[in-house]
Symmetry: C2
Subunit: 148 residues, 2 copies
């Protein structure tokens, strides 16, 4: 197969997609947050279970998470790296969120994010996403207070 | 840029690389395990810290892990998916390991793996790897006993 490839355009499109998601998270807008997921996406998320398969399962998980907060969220991506070819791309970053849960608890957390993209009908779609925090092997606890 | 792309060959090369790593893990062979890491690799691992940057840091972490076991390891990749274009690729899978630690403790664990590749001088090199387990939000504990 011979393909024409413009990395600058591809990376700009992916950056725009991630910025769109960031805006959606800050506004807790589930419809905007769900843009660009492939129907058969495989999500490895910060919390159980091992994986979520399919856009509907991902939507349910994202909706539960966004509705667990009261008011807008502060959200940023740091150390973002993007690699793209004509039809396959990936990104990774360290993301930060802070906000107030509906039970009044404050959340202020960094986590690791890897996103994998396929271009489908000229649009970058996410077929795989991996969000996690590491754990401390001595306590067995998830490490929710690490900073880069 | 115009590139020739043969997905079947690329996917066969990546499968061979992952099989080579699997053999290295079973044999606890750190040199074979470290093949195909790019010098500037970013690793998000199962345990702290948030990230390891550079092949030397990744080697140290892998060596510590492999040497924490006594005897060979049982290791498999399940639900492996690979997507590749001419110069960029990614894979994800659910991996399983079991073995005996040097302190006699048995380990039998599933975790999530995402691997991101760039082709450099005709060889697939890993520029990013993300290993994790999720956690249980009620206990705050890493979920080390989940099964697919």
């Amino acid at each position: 197969m011979i393909t024409a490839n413009n990395p600058a355009i591809d990376q700009a499109q992916i950056t725009k997609l991630l910025d769109h998601w960031a805006t959606a998270i800050r506004a807790r807008d589930i419809d905007a947050r769900m843009s660009n997921y492939a129907p058969n996406v495989h999500l490895f998320d910060v919390v159980e279970p091992l994986q979520y398969v399919g856009a509907e399962a991902v939507r349910q998980r994202a909706a539960n998470w966004l509705s667990s907060f009261d008011g807008p969220l502060a959200f940023e991506m740091h150390d973002l790296r993007i690699a793209s070819d004509s039809d396959v791309a990936f990104s990774h970053s360290l993301n930060h969120v802070s906000g107030t849960k509906t039970d009044g608890q404050k959340l202020d957390m960094w986590w690791r994010v890897t996103i994998c993209f396929r271009k489908m009908y000229d649009t970058w779609m996410v077929t795989h996403e991996h969000n996690s925090v590491p754990f401390n092997p001595e306590s067995g606890k998830a490490s929710l207070d690490l900073k880069p």
